[in-house]
């Protein structure tokens, strides 16, 4: 039941008294939605905190094998995109349609760039078999089997088949001749817990980015069709609120997942 069928005003919906009421309702609705988003992620943050407290060594180890440079580039992309979408609001307020579309498309490009790097990262992880479950177990078991006959003194310099130097080889070296549960032993099971967090958290965040990209494209289409006049700039603002939140959640995910193993990165990638 859009306003165009109802009459007097192009933007005002029939059940609101005035534009101010409509806009403040839209904004408040989005803020409430953001609260639910925060709580949606909070379940994972709580669980992450618990397990990191229990298994610090495993979390540190696993974290050091994630690809830090991609996370860094992605952080830069997302922060920049928050700037560009804010500039889009300004253009909408001023009624500059061309600038609005330009800023929106730039935001879209930055977000799409994030997802592109994310895809590259996922592909590398899968290639290295850094995926909890059977993939992880088989890869680790084969590294352990390769290392088993080697003399413990020579294990540090042992060259694995095909020159592989990924997490599995690193983990096998660390645990070589250690009894599970003893000092310095990094439990492969618990490394998988970290990896569960890594995949689920970044995956759900990625889905949010894709949803945000969809909304931005929709805004571009609306702006192009001339449906975002000056007085209706709050549509852009509402989408930007969501985009900022998704950006902000990344700012929490990034240190929790990628920087938890900062001290070990030198030996990793």
């Amino acid at each position: 039941m859009s306003a165009s069928t109802h009459g007097h005003h192009a933007v005002l919906k029939h059940h609101f008294d005035n534009l101010e009421q409509q806009h403040s309702a839209e904004r408040l609705g989005m803020w409430f939605f953001l609260v639910t988003e925060v709580l949606f992620f909070s379940g994972m943050f709580v669980a992450y905190t618990v397990y990191r407290h229990w298994f610090p060594a495993e979390f540190q180890f696993a974290s050091s094998h994630l690809i830090l440079w991609i996370a860094g580039v992605n952080t830069a992309l997302l922060i920049t995109s928050s700037l560009t979408i804010t500039l889009a609001i300004r253009s909408a307020q001023l009624g500059q349609r061309a600038a609005l579309i330009r800023w929106l498309l730039l935001t879209f490009a930055l977000g799409a760039g994030f997802m592109g790097f994310k895809a590259l990262e996922y592909a590398t992880d899968v290639h290295e078999k850094l995926v909890p479950g059977r993939m992880f177990q088989e890869e680790y078991a084969s590294a352990v089997a390769e290392l088993a006959p080697v003399d413990p003194a020579a294990a540090g310099t042992f060259q694995f088949k095909g020159g592989q130097q990924h997490w599995a080889q690193d983990l096998a070296r660390r645990n070589n001749h250690l009894v599970p549960g003893s000092d310095g032993y990094v439990s492969p099971e618990r490394v998988q817990i970290f990896l569960c967090f890594y995949w689920i958290m970044t995956g759900i965040h990625g889905i949010h980015i894709i949803a945000g990209l969809g909304c931005i494209l929709w805004l571009v289409q609306q702006a192009y069709a001339g449906k975002i006049p000056k007085e209706n700039y709050s549509t852009v603002e509402v989408v930007s609120l969501y985009w900022h939140l998704v950006d902000m959640i990344w700012l929490f995910l990034m240190p929790l997942l990628y920087l938890a193993g900062a001290g070990l990165h030198a030996s990793g990638h």
Binding site: M1, H14, H15, F16, Q21, S24, A25, L28, G29, F32, F33, V35, T36, E37, L39, F40, F41, S42, G43, M44, V46, A47, V50, Y51, W54, F55, P132, G133, R134, S187, E189, R190, Q192, I193, C196, F197, I200, I204
Partner: protein
């Protein structure tokens, strides 16, 4: 602000009965798609009403299977496996597809805009989307139930649900996950509407208590539902991928699932009961012709329940191996949450005191609510106390307590609401005799069903077991007999309410002589609810001086011509001097 009304005439004259407009929200447009694509909050409320009634029948049939099977000590009709699936189906359908959407989605949608003087909810399309999301989630759950069933119990605890169950858990969990979004959408819509769309003069202190209750409920929906959503995602990942964070095989902790699950699912019982409390406040004042006793206390206790309700979840886990000290803390907090509920009950009883009570069907259901909810609430304290909970945990005592609150409380409040607002929603009156009879039958059937379960539980019969020692049989047979009476009680409204649609006399705009804004528009309302901008001038329950929220007089209350002497001394008959303490709140 309070005005002491002294020697002024007691009431304004009641407004003339508005001419029933030819077009209302029911007949403005017609056809299949006019309903399925509607963005009218009233029609969406009706869509929900029809859907959840259907699910109530499904859940009721599952309950019937469970009770029938318990007739004999070794299971009368089902295998153990079927029994597990039957009680899980009962729990999942009743909780997620009936209780959680019941009052918020039906009456919340239908009434919140009218009660606060708005044309619609803030986001009408989102509102329609919430119904579709609900139905899609329900379809997944029904798929899960039909394609092998779910045998985990409605709590879906891993590692059984993630690793060992061979039933079709995944579609069921996915369905619960999806319906959660519908709940969030409804809650968000209602919160924004209450904040932004109130008519002039409708201050927070003049909001009907139903609105306060809906606001508190929406607050819980908004804060709780996303947490269970992510928990269910984690559970689904674990079941599908075979590895996950609750998996004990890799160092995961299943008790963490319980924490996250109950962080939502305990507040969820307040999502179910608080709207019922809102309905009770409306009906109780109307049929005792009195202002609510302690408006602020009742309003803020809703908010209090919503807040404290988030701090009590671990009382479900006293025997799950949590630390002694945290159990102690949660035990204390659980008793604390009983306080706002008790505040409400005391205020309701004080409202009844010296009221001019009449016993129409909504009031009969409400009085039944008061009794049953109080029993349910007090037995909850036995479970909040750690010492007794260890004895009673996971026994039929818990089942009986829960059903006293949820069925005796919530379902009766829901039925009270249906009977109260049915004339408004449909424009028709139902049979007075049959509605009173059904309230009585349900009350009796309910007591007979669940009181024996308290005894069973106290003597140690665990919940969810298909068989039991022979000495428990008499109580189980009694309980099943009660359930049959309860079933008949539920069938009666289904019949006479349906008949009223076709043969019932036309309802007046204000058949109960109530004060809320929803009664100042025709029955059924027109599409945009108000033909004028309603300006609220006083509080929601000015029965003592007999004015509605627009400051106009009330029509003659129903039953005032009967043998009720209090009603004869009606406000319009005796315009004499008034007691000095009568107050206008506002």
């Amino acid at each position: 602000m309070s005005i002491v009304v002294a020697d002024t005439p007691r009431t304004a004259p009641p407004p003339p009965e508005p001419v029933a407009p030819a077009r209302n929200y029911l007949n403005e447009t017609s056809g299949f798609w006019s309903w399925l694509l509607t963005v009218d909050h009233k029609r969406i409320g009706i869509l929900y009403l029809v859907s959840i009634t259907l699910f109530f029948v499904v859940g009721g049939i599952a309950a019937g299977l469970v009770r029938t099977n318990l007739l004999t000590p070794n299971g009368a009709i089902l295998t153990e496996d079927q029994y597990n699936k039957a009680f899980t189906a009962h729990g999942v359908v009743m909780l997620f597809l009936f209780l959680i959407p019941s009052i918020p989605a039906v009456f919340g949608n239908f009434l919140v805009p009218i009660m606060i003087g708005a044309k619609d909810l803030a986001f009408p399309k989102l509102n329609l989307a919430s119904w579709y999301v609900f139905m899609i989630g329900a379809a997944f759950m029904v798929w899960g139930l039909l394609s092998g069933g779910i045998d985990t119990g409605w709590t879906l605890y891993p590692p059984y649900s993630s690793r060992y169950s061979h039933a079709s858990v995944t579609p069921g969990v996915f369905g619960v996950f999806i319906t959660g979004f519908s709940s969030i959408m409804t809650g968000l819509n209602i919160m924004v509407t209450v904040h932004k769309m109130r008519a002039p003069g409708m201050t927070w202190g003049r909001l009907p208590l139903f609105i306060w209750a809906m606001y508190a409920t929406s607050f819980i929906q908004l804060l709780g539902t996303p947490v269970v959503a992510i928990t269910l995602v984690l559970l689904m990942v674990e079941r599908v991928a075979g590895v996950g964070i609750f998996d004990p095989a890799i160092g995961g902790d299943p008790v963490l699932y319980q924490h996250l699950f109950w962080f939502y699912s305990h507040p969820a019982v307040y999502i179910m009961i608080v709207p019922g409390m809102g309905v009770v406040s409306e009906v109780l004042t109307c049929f005792s012709r009195k202002n609510i006793f302690g408006y602020k206390a009742v309003a803020w206790s809703s908010v209090g329940i919503a807040v404290v309700g988030f701090l009590v979840w671990a009382h479900h886990m006293f025997v799950a191996g949590i630390s002694y000290y945290s159990a102690l803390l949660f035990s204390f907090l659980t008793m604390l949450v009983a306080v706002p509920s008790a505040i409400k009950v005391f205020n309701w009883v004080a409202t009844l005191y010296r009221g001019s009570i009449t016993f129409q069907a909504p009031m009969m259901y409400t009085l039944a609510f008061l009794v049953l909810f109080t029993v349910g609430g007090v037995t909850g304290l036995f479970l909040a106390t750690m010492g007794t909970d260890i004895h009673l945990h996971d026994t039929y005592f818990v089942v009986a307590h829960f059903h006293f609150v949820m069925v005796g409380g919530m379902v009766l409040a829901y039925l009270a609401g249906i009977h109260f607002w049915w004339p408004k929603m449909t424009g028709r009156m139902y049979s007075d005799f049959w509605s009173r009879t059904s309230a009585t039958v349900i009350f009796v059937g309910f007591f007979l069903t669940f009181v024996p379960q308290f005894i069973l539980g106290y003597h140690g019969m665990p919940r969810r077991y298909p068989n039991y020692p022979e000495e428990f049989q008499v109580y189980n047979v009694l309980s099943t007999a009660g359930a049959s009476i309860l079933g008949v009680g539920y069938l009666m409204p289904a019949v006479y309410l349906t008949l009223s649609l076709f043969f019932g006399p036309k309802a007046q705009a204000n058949p109960w002589s109530a004060t809320g804004l929803e009664w100042q528009v025709p029955s059924p309302p027109t599409v945009f609810n108000f033909e004028y901008l309603p300006v609220t001038v006083c509080g929601p329950y000015e029965y003592a001086i007999g004015v509605d929220q627009l400051g106009r007089g009330l029509p003659e209350p129903p039953g005032s011509g009967d043998d009720n002497p209090a009603a004869k001394v009606g406000p319009t008959l005796l315009p004499g001097p008034l007691p000095k303490e009568t107050e206008v709140v506002g």
